[in-house]
Structures are given as structure tokens and as C-alpha cells.
Amino acid sequence: MDQIYVDIVLSILQASFLLAIAPMVTGIIRKIKAYMQQRRGASIFQPYRDIAKYFHKDSVISRDTSWIFSITPYVSMAAVLIAALLVPVFVTRTLGFVGDLIVVVYLLGTVRFFTALAALDAGSAFGGMGSSREMMVSSIVEPTMLLSIFAMGLITGTTSLSSIASVLSISGINLVRPALFLASAAFLISTIAENARVPVDNPTTHLELTMIHEGMILEYSGKKLGLMELSSMTRLVLYFTILSNVFFPWGIANDLSAISIGAGLVTILVKVLFLALVIAVIESSISKLRLFRLPNLLTVSFILAVMAVMSFYIL
């Protein structure tokens, strides 16, 4: 029984860690992009200040909205945090028995479900446009994520996040198969698409015809906007963590000794920062795709994921 208390404490610690570094990671991506554009850019701590600012502001709510609009910020933040509780960050012990990787994907799907509804709630065309496009993207991305997970499930003989991480990190190179790389490539594209990054969406744009995610949260202000922003930043870090610890978990702590936990902390930071660099480089070097070119990219990732699962049996 003591085991479970340790697990609870560990998963709370890890989720808090993700929540704490989330705005910084966004700040770092912005900073790298600024450097690549020959600008100095804002401090990497600017997102913290932004969110604090939102929480101290009054808010304006459209008169046409219903209870969906009011509960969505709380539901999305809570769902992201619950998902964070299930994901191993620096040690492979979490509340994983509550849900496996499929549950995490569906929890993040819950966030999308509510956000897309809230976007429709104010009755503006921007919200509808964002919502409709977001759901188009997600309808191909979600199956891709599930399939790449299944490929990992087959390789490691489990779909439980902690077990995937510990099995891979312990048995090491023997389990590395082509399926692993195919699946991780598919998941990387999904990460980009799900977090509204270039080339799928542009997080800095407020141009009506191109925005997806920004269009959906256009009507939010004050504390609720703060929550929506914080939850999408946390979601980005959560995806980075899944990508790091499911596909390349080496370095994660498998026991509770101070050395391995320290090593786990350092490796996850390095991996997350590396992924932030990858995102920043992609965003600086290619332009956003036209909306109806997107399905091509997304189907490529879908096919990659299908091939990952099939290649496990064939190769």
C-alpha cells in the first residue's frame, strides 16, 4: 500500500514539474526563433509574466455564450493536468494504473472537444472557422497518434506509459526496430499539428484566414484566457515528454536513488529543450502550408504510423 502513496507523490511532483517549465519552454522557442530572425526577442520568462497579467485582468464575455464557454477553460486545464499525472517525466513511476497511453490521447481529445465547442459558442465566424479546421486536422492526427502508440505497444508488449519507458530504457538497443523510427516520425508530425505549430498553424498570427487555434480562443479574456494559454503551453510540453519518454526513454530514472532521479531530470530537460529547438528551426525555415495542402502532410504521417504497426510483424 505504501507503494501507491509513493506513486501519487511522484506523479504529482512530475505533473507540477511539467506545469512549471511549460511557459518557459514556450519562451525558449520564441527566443530561438527571435535569434534566427536576427532579433533579440523577449526574455524566456515573458510567458510567465503574460499569464500572471491575464489573471489580474477583468474579462468580457459575449452575451450569446452558454455554460459550455464558461466551463471549458477549467475542463481543459484539468484534463491536461490529469494527463500529466499519467505520463512519466523523470522517473518511470506514476499513477499509470489509472490509464495507459490511449487514455492520455483521449484526455487530450477531451480538451479539443471542449475547446472546439467553446469556439462555436460565441457565434462568431472566426470561432466556427477555427473549430471546423481544428477538427479536420485532429480527425487525421488522432488516429495517427493512436497507431504510433500501438506500434510502441507491440514493440514493448505494453501500452502503459511507465512500462513502455522502463522496458525500453532497460532493454536498450535490442528493441530498436524500424517501427520505432516510423512511429516517432509520425508522432512528431502529430505533435506539430496538435499544438498549432508551423506548418499546420501559425501560433503568432492573428490573420483571420490562416489561424486555427488562435481563432478558437479569440473570445476569451482575463483569467479564462490565462487558463487556456497555460493549458496549451502545458499540452505542448506534455507532447514533448511523451515523444521523449515513449520513443527515446533512455536516461529516465527507474529507481528512486538521488543519482538516477537527478540524471532523469537532466535528461528530460535536455530532450525537451532539443525538441523545442527542433520546433523553432522548423518554424523558422518553412512557411505555413495552405489549409487544403495539410491533409497531404497529415496522411503521410498516418501512413507512416500504419507502416510502423505493420513493419513490426514483417521486419
Binding site: 474579462s59 457565434g123 472557422m129 510483424y313
Partner: protein, 672 residues
């Protein structure tokens, strides 16, 4: 207490309800209360019967007369009792709902007729899952088809209802013919028409015959369940019926076909060939994916729900197909897992689809339209209907921890276990099914965001929606029961699975419950592979949501909330500026244009100058692929053949006498 007694009470109350509906038909409100009240009581008895059989011993009742086809009677084993439970519970909720809903028809159509048919329809469904004799089964199956047909054409003065009914009755009889052939064929081998003699009759047959019977049964029951391409009647018939009947038809009537498929394949024939399961999987995948795709572009609320029934039948059959594949390799434990997932989805779909159909009925009741482009803003006007519909939408979109999620998760897990299959080809094929199921789930989420968002949120798009009022209490209570069950069966699925396991264990020959449920954690056959606990998830949600609310209220202090206009870029917004249902699904229609074959038509009327347009109109048509390329040619060739044959019917008696004479001579020569 005795199951037999309750079954008798159920029958008597049902018949009493039917008779009283006719007797009281002049006083509409009294008639509705008495006849639907009797139906509720009758289904309550049905629930008792089912629970008694599920927790105790099987039930068997013989009718006190003999027929040339053996004894007619009722028998319930655990499988039948499980389906009876689903039918009874759902019908109970719908009966209560109908008391209020039937007000819609006061003074327009006969309430007495509705009450009569409703009670008979419920009884016939109960008898279908409990008939103990093949011929008796065919009779009650036909009774079920006919009563439901009459209910479909109940609103007979509405346009399109009669033709929907005709399509339904033709398709369902096509299926019944095949079922009849298969059941009688099995009866010849079993030397009896008693279902008790049918059990295991497959061992006596040759492999080819067994496979033929399988195909007959799959097509026959499949046409009732709505598999593609035999689904064409479903999106017409289910929406044409009164909404309470649509709820029953989509929620439970299609499940009687699933029940008979499980019974005939696992119990009677025995699943031996792998290709049976693969065929079911293939058809099921197509059904699920195309079903949800067509649901996505419908703008009629009830047709969206009807197509989504097609999709869910696909998902159920994916589970069944997986169970059949595992069974053919004697992987009993996995077959058990897949069959448990299938039955859970049967139950869950019954609950959330009736919730949704009752919600659609409430919308129809309050606004007199089921066109989503004329709705909007109902969440503020019909708060409770919106909340109940939302619960249904969350369940069907597989949002954890609602019930749809639990069964979908289990189906995924059982498909993932396919790595234990020894055959390489089969192993490689199953990931394709997983991919299609994942795609289906994702599109279903889009479909229900669209349905809920367009209908309930933002500004009303018509006067009817503007003036909508909350529906009567009985309707809310009816759909409330079903909505509550969506939550309960999801959160407490760990407690339900052991009972479902007792249903499947005799069919697959292995009990899987002990390896699936561990405390309140669910894990597919071994907890090394993965675990999930909807119950623990609810606890996390119950902690996390209030925590987030409290912290965000506390941090930054109390802040004002001002109510203002939606951001309008300086031009006041009207309801026409909002996204419509068609616009919402348009990106996906374009992405999947290969399936939809959309034909947008833009018509421009010019004035004398080519630069000034008088009117531009836009129409958007999607080609109904199956109607056009499959059914249209068949119908045309049949009409042509009929015309050709009709040439011999010249109308002269001498000619007819000659035909009779020629036939007689001909027969005498052959059978002399």
C-alpha cells in the same frame, strides 16, 4: 422470486397496455398515460426477469398447446437475459419519455394507435430474444418488423414517410427470407425446431454448408442491423418514425440482430473458419467508417443519429469479428475479451443513442424542426435538454470516463492482442482494422462537436429556435434515466464486466473476468499489457476540476466579468454570420472528396450587364453512392424484367386458360 412469474406479468401488462390504448383512444392524455405507463411497468418486469436470470438460473416457459413445428415457448439463458436487460431498461426510459412526447401528436394522429403499436413493438422485441423455437422466433421476428414498419409510417401525412416505410419493409423482408432459409436448414439437421436442439448443430454439417449458412445469416441479420451496403433503409426509416420509436429502433431493435448473430454463430454453428471473422471485420470496418462519414455531412439531426447508428453497428461488429477470429484459433481468453467488449458496446450504444434520440425528439417537440441549419442557441433556452444531450454526445464521442470510451478502449485492446495470432497474414491485416477504428472514432468526435455546437450553441438561426421552451418533465426524466446510465455504466464498468463475462463464458468456453478486472482496474487479459480505471479517473476529475477552479478564482483576486457583444470587427453580427452545419463539415468533405463525390452547384443570374449579378445561388449535393450505383441498377433491371413478363398478361381469359393448361401438361410430364 420467480422469473417465470415476472415474465407472465410482463406479457399481461404489455397486452393490457395495448388493449387499454385502444379502449381509451378518445381521451388522448389519459390514453397516453395509461398505455405508456403500462409499457413502463411491463419493461420494469422485463428488467426483473433479466436480472433474475443473469444472477440465477435460466428461465423456460412452454405454451400450453402443440404445433406441427414442436412446442412454442420462451426460454432465456444468460445471453438472452443480457439483451432483455438492455431492451427493458432502454424501453423503460423511452416509455416514460413517450408520455410527454406523445403530446406532439394530440389532435393530429391517433394516440390510441401509437400506444397500441408501441406496446406490441416492445412485446415483440422481448419475445425475439426469448423465443425457444425457430418457427416461433420467425413469427415474432416478423411481428417486430411489421409493428416497427407501422410505427415508421405513423406520421403518414408527412412527405417521404410512406416511401421510407416501403424501403424499410422491402429490405427487412429480404433479410428475413435468408434468415428463414438458414434457420430451417439448421432445423433439418437438428431434427427439431427447438433452439435447445440447435446448440452445436454445426458439427453435423459439412464445412461448405456451414459457410453458406454463415453467409446467409450474416446478410440476413446484417440487413436488420444496417451493415453497409444493406444499410440504405436505416437513414430513412429511423428518422421518419416518431422520435421515441427512433430511439427504440436505433437503440435496441438493431441489437436483436446482433443477438441472433452471436447466438447462431457461436452457439449453433460454432466458429471454425478464420475467414468468417475476417469477412465480418472487413464489412464492419467499411460500415463503421462510411457510416460516420455520412453522418458527418447530414444536416437533419435525426439522420445524423441514424447514420451514427450504422457506424456503431460497425464498431460492434468489429468486436464480434475479432472475437470470431480469436475463436477460430482457439484463443478462448482473447475471444472472451473481444466478446465482452462487443456486448459492452451493445449496451453502451443502446444507452447513449436513446439519450441522443430522445434529445432530438425534445428539440423537435420544442422547435418543430430537425434541420440543424434552423437551430442554434438552445443551450440557453432548454438547459436540461442540452445537458442530457451533451452527456450523450460525450459518451458517443468516447470521452473518458463515459461509457462509450470504456467499450471502445476494450475493443482497441482486444484488437491489439492480435499479436498472439499464429498466422502472419491475419496479424498484418488487423492493424488496418485498428487504423480504421481510430479514424472512425476521431471523425465521430467531429460529428458530435458539429451536431451539439450548431444546434445548442451561439445564436438561434430561426424564430422557432428563438422561442424554444424546455420540454415537459416526463420527457426530461425519460432521457435523464438513459443519460445517467451512460455515466454509471462507464464509471462502474469494472463491476459490470464480471456479469457480462458470465454471458460470454459458455459461448467461447473460457471465463475472462478474473483476468480483466482487478479491483476497480480494468486490464485486457494481463495487467502487464495495460490497465485503465474509469473509476479512478472520476476521482482524479473530481479532485482536479474544483482545484483548478479554486486556484484560478484565488490567484489574481476577484475580477469583474462584463457581458458584451461577440467581437464583430465593427459590423454587428447576425445569426447568419455564424458557421452552419454544412460549412462546418466542408473541410472534411473536401479532404474525403473521393468518398463523398460532392457536387457544389453555383448558379448565377445576370442582369443585362455581365458585371452586375442579379442573384447567385449555391447548392451542395453529395451523391448517394450506394443508391446510385448499386440499388438503382437493380431496381431498374427488376422493373424492366417485370414489364417484359407483363406482356403475357394480355387480359383475355382464353389466354390465361391456355397458360394453365400448358402448365398442367408440363407438370404432368415432369412429375408423372
Amino acid at each position: 422470486m420467480d422469473a417465470d412469474l415476472f415474465f407472465t406479468l410482463l406479457t399481461i401488462t404489455g397486452i393490457a397496455g395495448a388493449v387499454s390504448a385502444v379502449a381509451l383512444r378518445k381521451k388522448e392524455r389519459v390514453c397516453a398515460t395509461v398505455s405508456f405507463g403500462a409499457a413502463a411497468l411491463s419493461t420494469l418486469f422485463g428488467t426483473f426477469v433479466a436480472i433474475l436470470v443473469l444472477t440465477g438460473s435460466p428461465m423456460s416457459i412452454q405454451l400450453p398447446f402443440d404445433t406441427p413445428f414442436g412446442h412454442f415457448g420462451f426460454a432465456l439463458d444468460r445471453l438472452g437475459a443480457f439483451f432483455l436487460l438492455v431492451i427493458s431498461v432502454v424501453s423503460f426510459a423511452v416509455s416514460i419519455y413517450s408520455i410527454g412526447y406523445s403530446k406532439e401528436y394530440d389532435g393530429k394522429y391517433s394516440i390510441g394507435l401509437l400506444g397500441l403499436l408501441f406496446n406490441l413493438f416492445l412485446l415483440s422485441m422481448t419475445f425475439v430474444v426469448s423465443a425457444s423455437n425457430a418457427i416461433f422466433f420467425l413469427i415474432v421476428w416478423e411481428a417486430m418488423s411489421l409493428t416497427s414498419y407501422l410505427l415508421v409510417v405513423y406520421e403518414n401525412r408527412k412527405e417521404g414517410v410512406a416511401s421510407s416505410g416501403l424501403l424499410y419493409v422491402v429490405m427487412t423482408h429480404l433479410g428475413t427470407t435468408l434468415i428463414m432459409v438458414a434457420l430451417i436448414m439448421m432445423g433439418l439437421y437438428a431434427h427439431s425446431y427447438d433452439f435447445s436442439a440447435y446448440s452445436g448443430v454445426g458439427v453435423l454439417m459439412s464445412s461448405a454448408l456451414k459457410s453458406t449458412l454463415f453467409v446467409l445469416l450474416f446478410i440476413g441479420f446484417g440487413s436488420k442491423a444496417g451493415i453497409i451496403p444493406l444499410h440504405v433503409w436505416l437513414p430513412y426509416a429511423h428518422p421518419a418514425a416518431p422520435s421515441n420509436i427512433s430511439a427504440l429502433m436505433s437503440g435496441v431493435m438493431v441489437k436483436t440482430a446482433i443477438f441472433m448473430l452471436i447466438r447462431t454463430l457461436f452457439d449453433f454453428l460454432g466458429v471454425t473458419d478464420t475467414w468468417w471473422g475476417l469477412l465480418v471485420l472487413m464489412v464492419a470496418s467499411i460500415t463503421a467508417l462510411l457510416g460516420v462519414m455520412y453522418a458527418l455531412m447530414e444536416t437533419d439531426i435525426k439522420r445524423v443519429l441514424a447514420y451514427s447508428t450504422v457506424e456503431n453497428v460497425g464498431i460492434i461488429l468489429i468486436g464480434l469479428g475479432a472475437a470470431m477470429v480469436f475463436e477460430s484459433y482457439n484463443l478462448d481468453l482473447l475471444a472472451g475479451l473481444a466478446l465482452i467488449a462487443t456486448l459492452l458496446h451493445v449496451m453502451n450504444h443502446a444507452f447513449f443513442k436513446t439519450t441522443l434520440f430522445m434529445g432530438a425528439g425534445s428539440i423537435l417537440f420544442a422547435t418543430h424542426t430537425k434541420d440543424m441549419e434552423k437551430l442554434g442557441g438552445l443551450a440557453r433556452r432548454m438547459k436540461w435538454t442540452a445537458i442530457l444531450f451533451f452527456i450523450g454526445a460525450l459518451s458517443i464521442a468516447a470521452i473518458p470516463p463515459f461509457n462509450g470510451f470504456v467499450s471502445e478502449w476494450l475493443i482497441f485492446q482486444s484488437l491489439l492482442q492480435s499479436y498472439q495470432i499464429p498466422d502472419m497474414m491475419v496479424k498484418v491485416l488487423l492493424p488496418v482494422v485498428i487504423a480504421i477504428l481510430a479514424l472512425t472514432g476521431a471523425i465521430a468526435a467531429v460529428c458530435f462537436v458539429r451536431l451539439f455546437g450548431i444546434v445548442f450553441l451561439a445564436k438561434p438561426r430561426s424564430e422557432h429556435a428563438e422561442q424554444a421552451k424546455e420540454v415537459p418533465k416526463t420527457m426530461l426524466v425519460g432521457s435523464g434515466i438513459a443519460a445517467l446510465l451512460c455515466i454509471v455504466t462507464g464509471v462502474f464498468s469494472f463491476a459490470i464486466i464480471p456479469y457480462v463475462d458470465q454471458v460470454t463464458a459458455p459461448l467461447v468456453g473460457a471465463s475472462a473476468a478474473s483476468s480483466i478486472v482487478n479491483g476497480f482496474v480494468i486490464s485486457p487479459t494481463n495487467d502487464q499489457f495495460s490497465t485503465m480505471s474509469p473509476f479512478a479517473l472520476v476521482i482524479l476529475i473530481a479532485i482536479m476540476v474544483p482545484l483548478v477552479i479554486l486556484i484560478s478564482k484565488w490567484y489574481g483576486g476577484k475580477r469583474k466579468t462584463v457581458v458584451g457583444d461577440t467581437w464583430d470587427c465593427g459590423t454587428p453580427l447576425s445569426a447568419r454570420n455564424q458557421y452552419t452545419g454544412t460549412a462546418y463539415s466542408n473541410p472534411l468533405v473536401r479532404v474525403f472528396s473521393y468518398v463523398y463525390r460532392p457536387k457544389p452547384e453555383v448558379k448565377t443570374e445576370l442582369t443585362s450587364s455581365p458585371y452586375v449579378k442579379k442573384k447567385v445561388s449555391y447548392a451542395f449535393v453529395v451523391v448517394p453512392v450506394f443508391e446510385k450505383y448499386l440499388y438503382q441498377p437493380i431496381a431498374t433491371s427488376m422493373v424492366t424484367a417485370a414489364r417484359w413478363i407483363s406482356k403475357i398478361q394480355a387480359g383475355s381469359i382464353q389466354a390465361y386458360l391456355a397458360y394453365i393448361f400448358i402448365t398442367l401438361v408440363f407438370l404432368l410430364i415432369i412429375f408423372r
